[in-house]
């Protein structure tokens, strides 16, 4: 069973769309979304492993950073982070799978569609890393 890949971010804010870009490239078995929502807790609970992919201003542009993450409830209620989703998955559906967060080093979050060359390079690295972690994803 492949891991569940969730790429999230705003495709109208430049490199913030890197997460959805990666998920879209992976096709079936990956979820591209604007933001994390509670509805994702159930499919997460059913996955062998979950890989979150998000643009990250703290990662050098063009690079990626991969971190294992654990269930943890955030005090911020107006948006979901991956750790909170894992906690909801565990509490509501009895299971939180192993999870990774891939941060994509982004160069620009300005208005507009499309990734910068640096974010595109990082996205390709993320795709290679996901394939190595999970096996036979088919690139579109």
């Amino acid at each position: 069973m492949n891991p569940l890949v969730i790429g999230y971010g705003n495709t109208l804010r430049g490199d913030d769309g890197a997460g959805p870009f990666v998920a879209t490239q992976l096709g079936a078995g990956a979820i591209a979304c604007y933001q994390l929502t509670p509805e994702l807790a159930e499919p997460i609970s059913q996955a062998r492993q979950v890989i979150f992919v998000d643009a990250h201003a703290g990662v050098p542009a063009g690079q990626i950073a991969i971190h294992p993450i654990q269930p943890r409830v955030s005090a911020a209620l107006h948006r979901f982070d991956p750790e909170t989703l894992l906690a909801w998955s565990e509490r509501l559906y009895g299971r939180a799978p192993d999870a990774l967060l891939i941060g994509i080093g982004a160069a620009s979050f300005g208005l507009g569609e499309g990734l910068s060359p640096a974010a595109r390079r990082a996205a390709r690295k993320a795709l290679r890393a996901i394939r190595k972690l999970s096996g036979p994803f088919v690139l579109l």
């Binding site: 604007y34 509670p38 509805e39 807790a41 159930e42 409830v73 209620l77 909801w88 509490r91 509501l92 559906y93």
Partner: protein, 474 residues
């Protein structure tokens, strides 16, 4: 006299940004209370000059929760500018999409925003009185809330391609027909969603009597009610004409065509708020306060028109009378409507015409003015546009559900403040009840603040002791 001011800033678990100011006299009693809406969106102004056919897509950006309502009201206003009757199937599909949105929006309001008050307690620890606390202490309700909202969101995505800001609804109809495969997918999910809606309604009816004090003081006020009904007085969410009833359940006005809304509705502004304040024009701003939304819809309609919702509708009015006044019962009405929306989806999907391929009428500008009205989850939503001969927007007026409720929300906040707030022994639960009144209306403040020009601003300069030194009105 020393004036003490309590502020609830921000009011939490609502959509958008607002604060409540409560004035206490020197005896610690509430002397005044007001809801302030502190954000401005301004869509009425900056859409001027845009082609009218862009308006559904632009105005849908007003809201991430009820974009479908804006899409529909805007598309209907554009239909009127094109002077077209949209194909029957397009109307069925628009209503189907709208019902799915009602399900997800009502689930969000009840489970995510208000259930923490209802299940964890108005006086419970505020650090835990939120959806996370609900997950911890009532996981079965949290699962139901997630599943019901997911159903509505999923149906919207399957129908319209996107959950948020879908572009499927267009002037003249929708831009693609429904496939049998998508129809069957939604139908397959409906029974589970209805089970949740029934279970939640039964649960709520079992606990509602525990809130007698809140029912008596949460906006338990006499107002008019407004909503859309069909030609026979039945509940309408997508289409229909405006009806007003009074607090005794008497008909005040009926079958008002959308284009004639201004004969019934006038707008004013309130000090220190960006939220416009509509009122029933014939009675003036003081006597013409009216409410919209789930409670109002069930007060103005004669019936829902689906079997299970009609049974619930009858029980609702049997319990509380022909005009149900307490804003606390918005929760109850919301759950009945969620069930109604699911039943309507079932009916619409069973209609063979739903798969017809003719789903869009095409035309240019055939009228220089158009009005579209739909029921958003929170109440009557009016889009009114004027265009030039080339179809560019010259003027736009948006009267949004939360705006209709503005005057009533202020009265409700004051009533709850007067009853629950004791300035001499202030407790958090008191302030939470005032916030919970606002939440009962499920306001969507991002939707509702579009007044062009300067809002009515009232600036007060107070001395450290609270004495008024100076004031400025703009």
């Amino acid at each position: 006299m020393i004036v003490k001011t309590l502020k609830i800033d921000p009011v939490t678990r609502i959509e958008g940004h607002a604060r409540v100011t409560i004035q206490l006299d020197d005896a610690g009693h509430v002397s005044d209370a007001q809801l302030h809406v502190t954000q401005v969106r301004g869509f009425e102004k900056f859409t001027e000059g845009r082609p009218f056919y862009e308006m559904p897509s632009i105005t849908a950006r007003i809201c991430g929760i009820c974009p479908v309502s804006h899409l529909l009201a805007s598309a209907k206003a554009c239909d009127a500018i094109m002077a077209v009757q949209i194909p029957e199937t397009a109307a069925l599909l628009r209503e189907l999409l709208h019902c799915a949105q009602f399900v997800q929006s009502h689930a969000l309001s009840f489970f995510h925003l208000s259930a923490p008050d209802l299940l964890l307690g108005m006086d419970s620890d505020p650090a835990r009185r939120n959806v996370l606390g609900l997950v911890e202490q009532h996981p079965e309700r949290a699962r139901d809330g997630i599943a019901l909202r997911k159903f509505g969101q999923q149906a919207i995505e399957w129908l319209a391609g996107e959950r948020i800001h879908p572009s499927w609804t267009v002037p003249g109809g929708v831009n693609a027909p429904l496939s049998a495969e998508v129809r069957d997918r939604i139908r397959a999910e409906l029974p589970a969603a209805k089970t949740i809606a029934r279970r939640t309604l039964a649960f709520f009816k079992g606990i509602v009597d525990q809130f007698a004090e809140e029912i008596a003081n949460f906006g338990n006020i006499s107002t008019l009610y407004a909503g859309l009904v069909d030609a026979t007085g039945g509940l309408q969410l997508y289409d229909g004409k405006l009806r007003f009833r009074d607090a005794q359940g008497n008909l005040v006005a009926d079958q008002i065509r959308p284009r004639d809304y201004a004969q019934s509705i006038a707008e004013t502004t309130l000090p220190n708020s960006y939220l416009k304040a509509p009122y029933y024009r014939p009675l003036g701003v003081s006597a013409g306060v009216y409410r919209v939304g789930p409670l109002a819809r069930l007060n103005v309609a004669d019936r829902c028109g689906t079997p299970e919702a009609d049974a619930e509708f009858a029980e609702f009015h049997q319990r509380y009378g022909p005009a149900v006044e307490s804003a606390f019962h918005y929760h109850y009405a919301r759950l009945i409507e969620a069930l109604y929306a699911l039943e309507r989806m079932e009916i619409l999907l069973a209609d063979p015409a739903i798969l017809d391929k003719h789903v869009r009428a095409h035309a240019g500008v055939n009228a220089l003015e158009g009005v579209g009205i739909a029921e958003a989850p929170r109440g009557v939503l009016i889009h009114h546009y004027k265009v030039d001969e080339q179809g560019a927007i010259r003027w736009a007026n948006l009267i949004v559900a939360t705006g209709h409720n503005n005057l009533a929300m202020n009265r409700s906040v004051r009533q709850a403040s007067e009853h629950f707030i004791d300035g001499n022994r202030l407790q958090e639960g008191m302030l939470n009840r005032v916030s919970a009144v606002v939440r009962a209306y499920d306001p969507c403040l991002s939707c509702s603040t579009h007044a062009a020009g300067l809002p009515d601003i009232h600036i007060r300069l107070l001395a450290p002791g609270g004495a008024l030194l100076d004031e400025l009105r703009q």
